[in-house]
Amino acid sequence: MRLTADLEIVDGLPVMHIRSLGALACADLHLGYEGVMASRGGFIPKINLKRIKETLGIAARKTGARSIIVDGDIKNEFSEVHAEEFNEFRELMHFLKEELRMKGLFLVKGNHDNFVDRLRQALGFELYRQEAEIGDYVFFHGEELPESKAKKTFVMGHLHPAIAVYNKVGVKEKLPCFLSGKMSDGREIVVLPAMNSFAGGVEVNRDDPSDIAPVFSKMLDVNGMRAYCFGEGETYDFGKVGQLRHV
């Protein structure tokens, strides 16, 4: 589904395609999540990396994109350098380069991405500390306000946005979504959904707007943004978040 002439959601997937950059954009992969949980004693079967690889594989084939921008939280833990994360991170980088033949790998650091600096040279990717201006876009993870004053389209992750709606038989369903709209200063902004399917989403149409993204409460009118949900190979425009508060 096309959001602008240059931006489209790769149908059915939590991935965006940016034509002018020939790039895919995604966020919040939280690699190593299962291993970290296991090291604390749980047993979360490994499935995240496998699904991410499948998803990116389909997206790359469909769009022919040769670059990828990961908009933060590529790995899971805040502080510890975890072997499980390290292994999965490396495996994904190799997969992107060797199997999907990606030329450009751009990582924007998120609040969970501490050790990736050290791997930059060995694995050959571009790393941005807070935000990255690439073409007509400013990519930033989203736990802090972007600094750029450029009149460009902003792309963020971090929120794990989802909408919750009641179906015909009265059961609540939660659907992860993209959000698209304008900031208070008129600049365009897109929020990417989380790639990690273990993560619970934030119900943007149920929660208080000031709770959803406290740092942005002045800049971002969540109610005015449109929600796009995806699944089973299709993408659906659910309209404005504000209007979804009562359904």
Binding site: G35, A38, S39, R40, G41, G42, F43, I44, P45, K46, I47, E84, N87, V165, Y166, N167, K168, V169, G170, V171, K172, E173, L175, S197, F198, A199, G200, V202, E203, R206, D207, D208, D211, C229, G231, E232, G233, E234, Y236, F238, G239, Q243, L244, R245, H246, V247
Partner: protein
């Protein structure tokens, strides 16, 4: 199965002298001073326990049940003390499911000891009693380790922890007696299954069999309870056990009350008002009244209303349930004991034998759902064994009325409903395998043999056992991650398993147990003040704007975020959302059939009366029943007041007039109708087979329907039937329904449910609980509750990840087992389908302009579920379309 020689009822009590002579001199002396006469169960138990026989004793409250076990045990310990052979070791372990009860027992055991030793002085070593629960402080535990008590009072969970304390187990090697109290609260659930394995582990650790005494209110069948209590010796040989049944030795008087003369035509408001007026009358008439409700939220509502309507103060009426803090509960118990409270309202917490002093009268609000439970609860009144227990069941709706009246009829005729023991539960076993691995290196066969000594695992498949070991040792993940995933060590070649790593012991301690299953969610006001908590599942039903009761006040739900619910104080006087019904227990199959038979007999007796006369509508329920008629005989046989009988008559006559039929045990009535707004189509299945069988039937019909019409189907199940809700756009004719019945009747229920239950919400919910019990998802990590945000893993993703590992992945397998065996009653459902096929049960399809009188409660109270259509893509499309339509309607 032939007659068991090992499990036997002991029918004849011993004489008074013979019983008393088996007690130690000092104990006998004390007993006679305080009690004079042994109670009926004691006339069996004193001697049998002294002869070291395993015993199961069932008797009502006030029958001296606890002392029936302990007088003999204290006698033996006293003999040892006098002979100088009593050491600082544990000789007896007492286990009850409730910490509060443990505190009582601790006091009750020390009382005779204090009296006796005040005379004896220090010449004889003192028999010591110690208490060990989750509340026991670290300091007390250390003390207990240095000087272990002779009698250890504990809970199933604390016992399981002790089994892994090597140092403490040294003191347990001398255990001769294990007393399990409140058997009826344990034998039918996973908590009891957990305990059964702990007992076998205890036996293995101390290297000898101990005497087992089970105490409980009534249970049926008692033989099953006895088997559960004693298990097997050497893996195969059933241990001996005598059964003492004193269930019926306390006299009881009870009645069903209907709050209004005609419950069918009274408004909800009127019924509500009358219910509270009835309760108020009963409270005023008695010194102390104990009111049981079926849910915690029900308890809250009753306290709130009694205080508001009749100006009772907090000093007159109090609530007592599991969601209250420990202090709050202890306060209430203390007030009761001192006779200060007029009335206490409880859900289940006071059902057990906590000492609450003397209660004159028990009121059960709404059906207790089982004959056995009705007797247990009413038996709480009348303090001593000689007193008559008195109680009333106040029915809250029309179906309740019939149910309660028939139930008390069955109680009068001593027909009890049966319980069942969950068997081969893999999640509980997983916890014990971890616990066992921590103590030593096991050969797989040795461990397997031990596990099979517990009754619930006697038929466990070795393959399942090995699969669990593989899961716990991390064999299901790649070799490189096994170090991280494995909780235990396992070598397939050596066929042995054992401990691994330091973290496992902590995980075991912190996450052990089978309760609580539910995640509770904090409830907050906008200013951040915490009001209390509700269950996650209740939260998932709340829509913004719904009003509910909490802590006796009304709140309007606003939104939830990260497992916090935000609410505002509501000014309205009536809650809009019914309490959480899945808390209620299912009606037993036997009782459901009795109700079905009652319906058939009464409807037959009334048929001519309603069918014959013209203008009957005016006289319905008002025309007196012909004296001497069959209908009069049937109604008069009910232990119920005149309002009840009149309302039942009214209810049946209206149904006969409206639908010409009363659904019963031989007639499945299917009613097609719509709600007021005509938005949803209702298919109401009047099938009276109890919720567990209906759980199967409802899903079968929903699945067939979903596949036939490619639609999502909403389900509402209760004991008297189930309702399927569909989008009104779907056209279903009588022919379609006939086809549906034929196809379901000839279907392979087990296979269809197994294959498709995955499409229901129930599967996800149950899977989450099983995952927690199997240590797949942890509740606690390093002593901290795992923050809810981390714990709240998308269960759909987790479920599909487990499926990708293997369809036989133990956590998955246990989820299916629990649904198919514990939640559902597959055997009975299959039996019903056979009868439907062979015409023993007829079916009838009717279309009504509005739901018939017998549908009323079916569409208001039930446990909700949904079966999603197979086609996920279409499901999403329809959901999208539905949401856009809602928006268009609202914003057009």
């Amino acid at each position: 199965m032939g007659v068991s020689l090992t499990i036997q009822r002991w029918e004849k009590p011993f004489g008074r002298e013979e019983s008393l002579s088996s007690l130690n001199f000092y104990i006998k002396d004390w007993f006679l001073k305080h009690y004079k006469e042994p109670t009926p169960p004691q006339l069996y138990s004193f001697k049998l326990i002294r002869e070291h026989r395993n015993l199961l004793i069932t008797a009502p409250t006030g029958s001296g049940k606890t002392f029936s076990a302990f007088m003999s045990i204290l006698s033996e310990l006293m003999d040892m003390a006098e002979a100088g052979s009593l050491e600082d070791k544990v000789y007896c372990v007492y286990i009850s499911p409730l910490k509060a009860l443990n505190n009582d027992i601790y006091r009750n055991l020390n009382k005779p000891l204090d009296d006796i030793y005040s005379k004896l002085g220090a010449s004889v070593p003192r028999i010591s009693v110690g208490i060990r629960t989750g509340d026991t402080t670290q300091q007390e535990r250390q003390k207990m380790l240095r000087k272990p008590p002779n009698i250890l009072v504990t809970t199933p969970e604390s016992l399981a922890i002790l089994l892994n304390s090597e140092r403490f187990m040294e003191n347990m090697k001398s255990v001769r007696y294990v007393v399990i109290d409140e058997m009826h609260e344990l034998a039918n659930n996973k908590r009891g299954v957990h305990l059964s394995l702990s007992l076998e582990r205890l036996g293995a650790l101390i290297g000898t069999d101990f005497l087992r005494v089970g105490l409980g209110a009534t249970l049926h069948p008692l033989e099953l309870a006895a088997r559960f209590l004693v298990g097997y010796r050497n893996g195969t040989e059933e241990r001996d056990c005598y059964i003492i049944d004193a269930t019926w030795d306390k006299r009881m008087e009870y009645k069903t009350l209907c709050p209004v003369p005609d419950i069918v035509n009274a408004t909800d408001r009127r019924i509500d008002t009358a219910i509270y007026a009835t309760l108020d009358r009963i409270i005023k008439r008695n010194r102390t009244t104990l009111i049981f409700t079926n849910t915690r939220s029900g308890t809250e509502r009753v306290v709130y209303n009694l205080r508001r309507r009749f100006k009772y103060g907090e000093e007159h009426i109090a609530a007592h349930h599991g969601s209250l803090s420990r202090e709050a509960r202890l306060d209430v118990e203390e007030l009761l004991k001192r006779g200060k409270l007029k009335c206490v309202v409880s859900s289940t917490s006071l059902e057990l034998g906590i000492d609450i002093g003397s209660i004159d009268n028990v009121v059960q609000l709404g059906s207790p759902k089982s004959v056995t439970r009705a007797i247990q609860r009413i038996g709480r009144s009348g303090h001593s064994f000689q007193d008559v227990a008195t109680g009333e069941i106040v029915a809250i709706n029309r179906d309740d009325l019939v149910e309660c009246a028939v139930m008390l009829g069955a109680a009068r005729d001593r027909r009890l409903d049966s319980f069942s023991v969950p068997t081969n539960a893999l999640d509980v076993l997983a916890q014990h395998i971890v616990g066992m691995a921590l103590t030593k290196k096991w050969k797989v066969d040795e461990a397997f043999g031990l596990v099979r000594q517990a009754y619930p695992y006697h038929n466990l498949d070795r393959k399942d056992f090995v699969m669990l070991i593989e899961y716990l040792s991390g064999s299901y993940v790649g070799l490189e991650s096994r170090r991280v995933y494995g909780k235990i060590w396992y070598d397939a070649n050596e066929d042995a398993f054992g401990r691994r790593g330091k973290l496992t012991k902590l995980i075991y301690y912190l996450n052990l147990g089978t309760i609580p299953d539910e995640v509770s969610v904090g409830v907050y006001e906008p200013n951040g003040r915490r009001i209390g908590s509700i269950q996650e599942e209740f939260l998932s039903r709340l829509k913004p704007g719904d009003i509910f009761v909490l802590g006796g006040r009304l709140y309007r739900f606003d939104h939830s975020r990260e497992m916090r619910a935000y609410v505002n104080r509501a000014e309205s006087k009536t809650p809009t959302i019914p309490p959480w019904y899945s808390e209620t227990l299912p009606l037993s199959y036997e009782l459901a059939l009795e109700i079905g038979r009652f319906r058939r007999e009464l409807a037959d007796a009334l048929a001519e009366r309603v069918g014959g006369a013209k203008g009957i509508a005016k006289t319905i329920g008002k025309k007196a029943i012909e004296p001497g008629s069959e209908a009069e005989r049937i109604l008069d046989a009910l232990p119920a007041d005149a309002n009840t009988k009149n309302s039942i008559l009214q209810y049946f006559e209206e149904q006969l007039l409206f639908a010409k039929r009363v659904p019963n045990d031989r007639l499945l009535l299917i009613e097609k109708t719509a709600d007021k707004e005509k938005e949803r189509l209702y298919l109401i299945f009047h099938c009276l087979y109890g919720r567990r069988a209906n759980d199967v039937l409802s899903r079968l019909f929903a699945l067939e329907l979903s596949d036939a019409f490619n639609a999502d189907i909403g389900i509402f199940v209760n004991d008297n039937g189930f309702v399927l809700t569909l989008d009104s756009g779907i056209g279903i004719g009588k022919d379609d329904l006939e086809k549906l019945v034929a196809s379901v009747a000839s279907s392979d229920a087990q296979r269809i449910i197994r294959r498709n239950i995955r499409r229901s919400e129930m599967m996800k919910r149950r899977f989450r609980h099983v995952a927690v019990r199997s240590f797949m998802v942890l509740r606690n990590y390093k002593g901290r509750q795992i923050s809810i945000k981390r714990q709240q893993i998308n269960s759909e993703t987790l479920l599909s990840a487990a499926e990708e590992i293997s369809p036989d992945f133990p956590v998955l397998k246990e989820t299916y087992r629990e649904i198919m065996e514990d939640v559902m009653d597959m055997q009975r459902a299959k039996e019903i389908l056979r009868k439907l096929r062979e015409g023993e049960i007829k079916h009838d399809i009717i279309e009504t302009p509005m739901p018939s009188p017998f549908s009323h409660t079916l569409i208001t109270f039930g446990e909700a579920d949904v079966v999603m259509m197979k086609d996920r893509r279409r499901h999403l499309r329809e959901l999208h379309k539905h949401v856009l339509e809602q928006i268009r309607k609202r914003y057009a």
